[in-house]
């Protein structure tokens, strides 16, 4: 039993308007200072990597709960790699404070999903490392395309420069994953086969 006296709750307070991070794909400049646009862009790129870290971690957890250790480990590895990318953005831009810039749950960019993050609908509890790498490859390719588009549509030279750098990074990631895939065995045709019927938890 709670010891404290029941407080009279105040009347329901009005919720703040949800922040909508813009309805188009261009990063909205948040400040008139020259550094503002670039910081904004870098912060969003950072947030994209962080979202990828979170998503790969969730995928790893899901595969772990479903007893698929090989793919669990692979997703954890991918999460660590994305964390390195995120850290890299901060290291190369010392004045960046991405958490503050991205406060209040702002979304990285207003698209169907953070570009790098994998579509959870592509998962299967019996998926093989090859499949997981294909997912990761698709994510990196999407990110590469995205930054190239950002570069094309950038309104300032400094932002274009950063976008091109990001795109080049993603191109390198694409290459790395392609190389990884080439060293990964192809799954057998019946990789998804599970002779047992579904179980009922409740």
């Amino acid at each position: 039993m709670k010891a404290r006296k029941t407080q009279r709750p105040s009347v329901r307070r009005k919720l703040p308007a949800a922040r909508s991070p813009g309805d188009n794909a261009r990063p909205a400049p948040q400040s008139t200072a020259k550094g503002g646009e670039e910081s904004e862009f870098l912060a969003r790129a950072w947030a994209m990597e962080v979202e990828a870290v979170e998503r790969y971690s969730i995928l790893a957890d899901a595969m772990e709960e479903h007893n698929n250790p090989e793919v669990t480990e692979l997703f954890r590895k991918l999460a660590r790699i994305e964390q390195l990318h995120a850290d890299g953005i901060v290291e190369h831009n010392q004045s960046l404070r991405p958490q503050e810039t991205m406060a209040a749950g702002k979304l990285p960019w207003d698209q169907s999903e953070g570009q790098e993050t994998a579509d959870p609908g592509d998962l299967h509890y019996r998926m093989q490392p090859y499949h997981a790498l294909q997912m990761a490859l698709a994510g990196e390719q999407r990110a590469e395309q995205f930054f190239m588009k950002m570069a094309r549509t950038a309104r300032s030279a400094s932002v274009r420069k950063i976008a091109l750098e990001m795109a080049a990074e993603e191109t390198e990631h694409v290459r790395l994953i392609e190389d990884w895939i080439s060293r990964t065995p192809r799954p057998a045709e019946d990789w998804a086969y599970d002779p047992d019927p579904p179980a009922s938890g409740e």
Partner: protein
């Protein structure tokens, strides 16, 4: 209520996630819905201790334990009455009711009607996968009439339940459809739903890759609703009754009077009531 302001620490979606790992099948749409829910909470700058997620029974109803908010995992089909009681007694809390299509539209059907009619300020999120998942594959009210199953061989032959029409007709003040494959879009719809006064209903198409693998195709079938939100129930009714089941967006956001919040400050003392009986 704790008066020390915790508002100094900014919330992120991660703030609203617990350490408990979901047991949903890999590929389940509910992972994205969880993500959208936590994003919505962060966008609204809520605090986990002021949010309660109330659910029934089923795969989707497992969601409260996966958030760091207060949770109530009740009995099958009765999330809405529990959520109603909570919100009326504690109007200061943000109350979310959640569950699946079996829990919400079948055994929960009666409560669904009356929760919409009562129009208490809460948000109801149904993760609809057109099947009973936890009990391994029986038809639900939103299952297609020709879907073959052991319990209904050859299909039920019944028209599917149309929850958005029912919600609108019964009196809900906000009716929306979302898709788990668009987590950011769904996050925005949920945030709008929470902000909207009265009963906000969000039906989220959330595929079951295990029992309905064909639902992976939903991502090619969903599309943004071709018209903007309306506050005219008649217009909304026409749209919803004629839509293809894949229109995504807020289809109705009305001006229906929400259930009046309880006035917490009483005007008399308990002792004074004795005068009712004194001779």
């Amino acid at each position: 209520m704790n008066t020390a302001s915790p508002a100094a620490v900014p919330v992120t979606p991660q703030t609203f996630k617990s350490d408990t790992k979901p047991i949903w099948c890999p590929g389940c749409g509910d992972y994205s819905v969880l993500s959208s829910l936590t994003k919505a909470f962060a966008m609204l700058e809520l605090r986990p201790e002021n949010v309660v997620v109330v659910s029934g029974i089923g795969c989707s109803s497992r969601i409260p334990a996966y958030t760091s908010c207060y949770g109530f995992h009740g009995v099958h089909g009765r999330a809405l009455p529990a959520a109603t009681g909570l919100k009326v007694a504690r109007p200061d809390l943000t109350v979310i009711a959640a569950g699946g299509d079996g829990d919400g539209y079948s055994i929960g059907g009666n409560h669904f009607l009356h929760a919409c009619r009562r129009n208490v300020d809460l948000t109801y999120i149904v993760m609809d996968n057109h099947v009973y998942g936890m009990t391994k594959g029986q038809p639900s009210p939103t299952t297609e009439p020709d879907w073959d199953s052991k319990l209904s061989p050859g299909g039920t032959g019944l028209r599917t339940f149309h929850p958005l029409v029912i919600a609108l007709a019964a009196g809900a003040n906000f009716v929306a459809r979302a898709f788990s494959g668009d987590p950011n879009g769904t996050a925005r719809i949920i945030a709008d739903a929470i902000r909207n006064p009265g009963f906000s209903f969000v039906e989220v198409l959330s595929p079951c890759v295990t029992l309905r693998p064909e639902q992976r195709e939903w991502k090619t079938q969903v599309h943004a609703a071709p018209v903007g939100t309306t506050d005219d129930p008649a217009r909304a009714a026409r749209r919803i009754m004629t839509d293809d089941g894949f229109n995504i967006g807020v289809l109705y956001a009305g001006n229906r009077r929400p259930y009046p919040a309880v006035v917490q400050k009483g005007t008399r003392r308990v002792e004074d009531l004795e005068t009712e009986f004194v001779l």
